[in-house]
């Protein structure tokens, strides 16, 4: 004989949210305090270096005259990783005076005569730097080239460092 079970009153199950919220706030404050926003980064485009002659593939067709670029060469000598001396040489010009500051280099770059009918796009700059030059100085020089309006920049190691 079935007995009628006495109905129990419904009861609320309440999860204690407050301790969980406390813990979440602690985690949140930990992440906020330890969060170090990354500085804004950007890129400087650069042409890839030429490989050694042993690895170089056969030369392609020569460029048409309108695509040829006047090549200017900045030679950077270093002493203890810092820039000691720079020179700027054009495609036809004789070596110019010694350049001893970045401002002077920038002024010289701005003075470059652009080919008739073509702008700074018709000029390529090759930076020939001493192997022990600190990278930040090299970037400063590249930055000056871009600031002066020259987008085509190549890098080359300096064959033989000047003594002293």
């Amino acid at each position: 004989m079935a007995r009628k079970r006495k109905e129990e009153p419904p009861f609320d199950i309440t999860l204690p949210i407050t301790p969980m919220l406390d813990m979440s706030f602690q985690l949140l404050s930990f992440f906020i305090i330890t969060f170090k926003p990354m500085p804004i980064e950007g890129q400087l485009a650069i042409n890839l270096p030429k490989l050694d002659s042993t690895n170089t593939p056969p030369q392609d067709q020569p460029l048409p005259p309108e695509e040829k670029k006047d090549e200017y060469r900045i030679t950077v000598y270093s002493q203890a990783g810092e820039v000691s001396l720079m020179t700027l040489v054009g495609p036809t010009e004789a070596p110019k005076n010694e350049i001893r500051s970045f401002q002077q280099l920038y002024d010289e770059l701005k003075k470059i005569t652009k080919p008739a009918g073509r702008g700074a796009d018709a000029i390529s700059i090759t930076i020939e730097a001493a192997p022990d030059l600190v990278y930040s100085r090299l970037i400063e020089i590249m930055d000056l080239c871009k600031k002066a309006g020259y987008e085509s920049v190549n890098l080359m190691p300096l064959g033989k460092e000047r003594a002293g």
């Binding site: 949210i17 407050t18 969980m20 919220l21 979440s24 706030f25 985690l27 949140l28 992440f31 906020i32 330890t34 969060f35 170090k36 990354m38 500085p39 804004i40 980064e41 950007g42 890129q43 400087l44 485009a45 650069i46 042409n47 890839l48 270096p49 490989l51 690895n55 990783g81 730097a129 001493a130 192997p131 022990d132 030059l133 600190v134 990278y135 930040s136 090299l138 970037i139 400063e140 590249m142 930055d143 871009k146 600031k147 890098l155 190691p157």
Partner: protein
Amino acid sequence: MSHGGGSGGHGQQSAEPNLTPLLDLVLQLVMFFMLVANFIADELSDKVKLPAASQAKPLTARDTNFMYLNVNKRGEVLVLHKEPLLSPEEIRFHMVQAAANHVLKEKAKDEVTVIIRADKDAKFRDIFKTMTAIKAAGFKKLQLRAEIPQKE
């Protein structure tokens, strides 16, 4: 106007704020900070202090295919979960493998831009060695990364 229990009378009124949405929000914020922290650790090594360049251009939405290569001040190429790469051959081999594993497969070497993140105190010889190895691996596009100084 009566509030609460519905039983009327002079029973105590309960005023418990609903904490659940607040908890949801806080947990979402926690998740955001955890994820952001992981992304930074993955590709952009904080061991590398970048030089500053005012003319550096940040990546745009169109720049989707790129690959990072971190170079520390000793000239070693840092690779996640691996020993640092030293010789040009090691770097070239790593780049060839990276191209093979890339989603673009054969096109990777033509389409992917390699971004070198080198320490500001690294020597030019080490950067040039890395650049030559990237070229030898067959990649066509290269960029050097720098910090954009904040304008005051």
